[in-house]
């Protein structure tokens, strides 16, 4: 609740202070419903007109034992009257439903931040499970924070006392009590939440009633309790007009794929195998059969992408989604797709590696793997969305390029984009790019590898077309007949042609646009989900007078034309990445620019402050 342009006014009984932005984190046991609390509060924030950024954080276990650190689930929200670029570096308000949640999250809370806890949950058993030798609520160890201990469990139980519910059922309503309290605290309209409760529990009126009551009790508690002296309000942000919805990266990616294939007039065929954090794409697309979407849960990743490639051969747009080890397993088939020059979109929702690694955490460590992770020379197009909503646009772009150039296209998302969400201006289908797929039908002069002079794409000639019968395969082909050829010069020509085709995609890549001065002390180059943190840091640094600009790459292969010139206009080039320095290698090799890596590999995103600090160190006395 920093930088608040405060000014208390009074609505209802308690005064209201106005703030620019608030970062709040809800944390509790996996069973405590913190994801629901968080997303409901998010929705009430956007309805109130704030710009927002969110970050859920799930435990790796399905159901870790209650009360343990392993079972803590969190949800962070940054809501603001200005443009929001990240979910916030550090929460200013922490809601901790039990000792484990407190222990796992306290170090992130800003000094002096508000700490709402459920008193009853700090019993001996839970304290022990969390490894607290003494009760932190009473041992003075929380003196650096604004402690707001609330009898959440007891008050919820009281509010629902006369309902015929088990103890367990009652306690599951704690989260709506908490939500009510927080909604009061931030002066939020209650109606939308109540409406949601009604919808959510439409099939179980008893639970509907219970959760309504819990919510109202929490809200009333804020109003009446001595603990809370005032409320806060974050005014609406200046947001471009339009109709918005809150969307996660995985959802946006699904919709992008569907919208693009509808525009192209193609069936969308997803061949996939479940894996965290990509599985939700499979789940969501599985429900869209009406949109000519077929999902195929294959026996493994190899079969998933194999089926997708078969579908592309047969005239659909084949897509395969995966993460972590799934990427390794798909490489052989991607090589075949490169060789047979069929369209294919592969979505890699990156997670912590190597090996099984940190399956539920985010990372950007697959860039070199998707670029080079296949034997032989097998170039592909690589795109990376920079925010949850951008997953929509880049999914559309992936489909468009795959069809236009008859090539596999990699879409590099990550766990942070996949599960994070942001408001998304709902696009109108007609405004999407025009991208009809064209199948070859004319047998006259047909050769499987006869190329379009503009794109070097070969014709898409699908089974069922009379007169175009032909065979594709992984052995080197003669140009243009497609017959098997072991001839040395033909091989050289084909290898170079495939490379040139991918290089040609640069004609479809927008020129690099920097945010900030055209030349200056430092250019920060990023890709993927680091967008928000880098942009916010750039603005903060600029505000402090640094001549710093930000360039975010959404096309990683081929790189935009003219990129080298841009890089050379700055004294220093810094490349923050959630890996050991992968993009920076490409830039250095390609442009011989002494770009410097800034790497963080902790399974969690950069903080704005970290990037600011790194730039300051880099520039040093350079001011």
């Amino acid at each position: 609740m920093s930088e608040g342009s405060s000014g208390a006014t009074s609505i209802g009984a308690k005064p209201v202070e106005t703030l620019d932005a608030v970062v709040i984190r809800f944390a509790g046991d996996s069973g405590d419903g913190m994801q629901l609390t968080g997303s409901e509060f998010t929705l009430s924030s956007v309805i109130a007109g704030n710009d927002i950024g969110t970050l859920p954080d799930f435990p790796a276990e399905i159901r870790a034992p209650t009360g343990t650190l392993a079972g803590v689930s969190g949800y962070q929200l940054n809501f603001s009257s200005r443009e929001v670029l990240t979910p916030g570096d550090a929460p200013e308000v922490l809601v901790a439903m039990n000792p484990a949640a407190l222990k796992a999250n306290l170090e992130d809370l800003v000094t002096g931040g508000a700490l709402i806890v459920d008193i009853e949950a700090f019993n001996e058993q839970n304290l022990k499970k969390a490894g607290y030798p003494a009760n932190p609520l009473t041992d003075g160890s929380l003196s650096g924070y604004r402690l707001l201990p609330v009898d959440i469990s007891r008050l919820t139980t009281l509010a629902l006392a006369d309902l015929d519910l088990s103890n367990k059922q009652v306690l599951r309503c704690k989260n709506f009590f908490t939500l009510g309290l927080v909604c009061w605290l931030f002066d939020r309209p209650v109606d939308p939440v109540l409406r949601h409760i009604d919808e959510r529990f439409a099939k179980n009126l008893r639970l509907q009633d219970a959760n309504r009551r819990a919510f109202n009790a929490g809200h009333a508690f804020g109003e009446t309790s001595e603990l809370f002296h005032q409320r806060y309000r974050v005014p609406p942000a200046a947001i471009a007009p339009g109709t918005y919805r809150n969307i996660t990266g995985n959802s946006a990616l699904c919709l992008g794929l569907v919208a693009a294939t509808r525009r192209a007039g193609l069936k969308l065929f997803l061949g996939s195998y479940p894996i965290t954090p990509a599985s939700d794409i499979l789940h969501e697309l599985a429900g869209l059969k009406a949109f000519d979407v077929v999902t195929f849960q294959a026996e493994d990743e190899i079969a998933g992408i194999g089926a997708a490639l078969g579908a592309s051969f047969a005239g659909a747009l084949g897509v395969s989604t995966t993460s972590g080890p799934g990427i390794d397993l798909k490489s052989e088939t991607i090589g075949l797709a490169v060789k047979t020059e069929l369209p294919l979109v592969i979505c890699d929702i990156q997670r912590g590696g190597p090996s099984t690694g940190l399956p539920t955490k985010t990372e950007q460590s697959d860039l070199l793997a998707v670029l080079y992770g296949r034997h032989g020379e097998a170039p592909v197009v690589v795109l990376a969305p920079s925010s949850p909503a951008d997953c929509f646009d880049m999914a559309v772009e992936a489909v468009r390029l795959a069809i236009k150039y008859m090539t596999p296209v990699f879409l590099l998302s990550d766990g942070y984009l996949a599960n994070g969400s942001e408001p998304w201006r709902i696009p109108v289908p007609q405004d999407l790019p025009d991208m009809p797929a064209r199948f070859r039908v004319d047998p006259e002069g047909f050769f499987p590898y006869l190329r379009d002079p503009q794109t070097l794409a070969r014709p898409w000639a699908i089974p069922g077309t009379p007169g175009l019968e032909h065979r594709l395969g992984g052995i080197e082909s003669e140009q243009p007949t497609g017959n098997i050829s072991y001839a040395p010069l033909n091989h050289e020509q084909m290898v170079r042609t495939r490379a040139r085709k991918i290089a040609l995609v640069a004609q479809d890549v927008p020129a690099p646009v920097v945010h900030g001065p055209e030349r200056g002390e430092c250019l920060i180059v990023g890709w993927g989900s680091t967008f928000g943190a880098i942009r916010a840091a750039t603005e903060a640094l600029s505000a402090r007078g640094r001549r710093v600009a930000h360039l975010h790459l959404r096309h990683l292969n081929p790189l935009p034309t003219g990129l080298g010139d841009v890089l050379r206009r700055y004294e220093r080039v810094l490349v923050p990445e959630m890996n050991m320095g992968q993009l920076v290698k490409l830039l250095r090799a390609e442009f011989l620019v002494d770009a410097v890596a800034y790497t963080k590999i902790q399974g969690r995103p950069f903080k704005v402050s970290e990037i600011e600090a790194r730039v300051e160190t880099l520039l040093g006395g350079n001011r």
Partner: protein, 338 residues
């Protein structure tokens, strides 16, 4: 695989299915005979030429699609069933054929094979079993007999082999057949029946690799002795074999045995019933040294076909929804600014 469409076009001939590519198997390879028989059968199936797709993996056998003038995809070692699945699910109107070898299908490709069988996609799988790796020049395969001396097993192999039909049955296959490269008529007939089956058809074609495993099936092809070693299956017929048709198969408790027809009444013999899975297991297991090798259709049952189920779900979804893209994009909670 059942006929997917009948064609009003001019009758096709064998030549229509010969591609312009030079056939590059070793002279004398059993693959030639199989190719010839398949090319003879294809024109009769009532499927327009452009609706055939031959999908293969890697191996000598997997070169097959290059020689058939239809659509074809020579894919990756072991992956043909996966790629064919994507083709068939996208385009159920196509007649999809998978050509594979014992290494391709049963070694590296074992998993895809068993999964396409359990899902029962309407495809035809022709496994050319030469009990050796041909293309990589003679290593033992998962169907090589124990003790086999090859380049990679100089002291003899110590693996127990798969029986392809037993494995396929274990994977819930709905059509199982076996034939031999040199038995032209029988091969044609089996291929026709595989095509006629609606669901995944699994055909083991015993194939001689005259370079690296010559004579592997001599006992089944040598004119002198083959009748004693082949058990030709016909639905509803008792299981009789032998040069003088003097031997039969009957049950002794839950175990089969060979009996001399002179000593045993014909009524005791097993009668072939392709719909009986227990019998199918018994036959798929059967073979030398104590039994003849069953040839023909061992098993055929009807079970829901994967892509039919998919089509039903798609229709139902389309009936439920008007697939309005704008509505999809705007679904869920939304709010308007300005």
């Amino acid at each position: 695989m059942a006929t997917v469409e009948t064609s009003a076009a001019p009758r096709l001939t064998r030549r229509d299915f010969e591609s312009d590519q030079e056939v590059r198997w070793c002279p004398g390879c059993g693959d030639y005979a199989i190719l010839a028989q398949v090319q003879r059968v294809l024109p009769d199936l009532g499927v327009p030429r452009e609706k055939f797709v031959f999908v293969s993996g890697i191996g000598c056998s997997s070169r097959f699609p290059y020689y058939v003038d239809t659509y074809g995809f020579h894919t990756l070692h072991g992956r043909a069933p996966a790629i064919a699945s994507g083709i068939k699910l996208t385009r159920p109107d196509l007649s999809v054929w998978i050509v594979t070898g014992d290494g391709d299908a049963l070694s590296i490709g074992g998993n895809h094979l068993i999964h396409i069988l359990r899902r029962n996609l309407d495809v035809n799988i022709l496994l050319f079993n030469n009990q050796i790796y041909g293309l990589t020049k003679g290593q033992y395969s998962p169907t090589s007999e124990p003790g086999k001396v090859t380049k990679s097993t100089p002291d003899g192999s110590i693996d127990n082999p798969f029986k392809p039909l037993v494995l396929a049955l274990g994977a819930e296959a709905t059509f199982l057949a076996r034939t031999i490269d040199v038995e032209a008529r029988h091969l044609q007939d089996v291929v026709r029946r595989a095509h006629a089956h609606h669901g995944a058809s699994f055909v083991e074609v015993l194939q001689n690799c005259n370079i690296f495993n010559d004579g592997a099936f001599d006992s089944l092809t040598d004119r002198e002795i083959k009748a004693d070693n082949q058990l030709i299956l016909e639905a509803g017929q008792p299981m009789i074999f032998g040069r003088e048709r003097s031997k039969g198969i009957r049950m002794n408790g839950m175990r089969p045995e060979v009996v001399n027809l002179e000593g045993a009444p014909a009524a005791e013999l097993l009668v072939h019933d392709p719909s009986n899975p227990v019998l199918a297991y018994l036959l798929a297991q059967m073979g030398p040294p104590n039994f003849p090798t069953p040839l023909g259709v061992l098993f055929e049952v009807t079970r829901p076909v994967y892509e039919d189920g998919l089509a039903r779900q798609v229709s139902a979804a389309q009936a439920r929804s008007d697939a309005d893209l704008a509505a999809l994009l705007g679904a869920g909670e939304s709010w308007t600014v300005g």
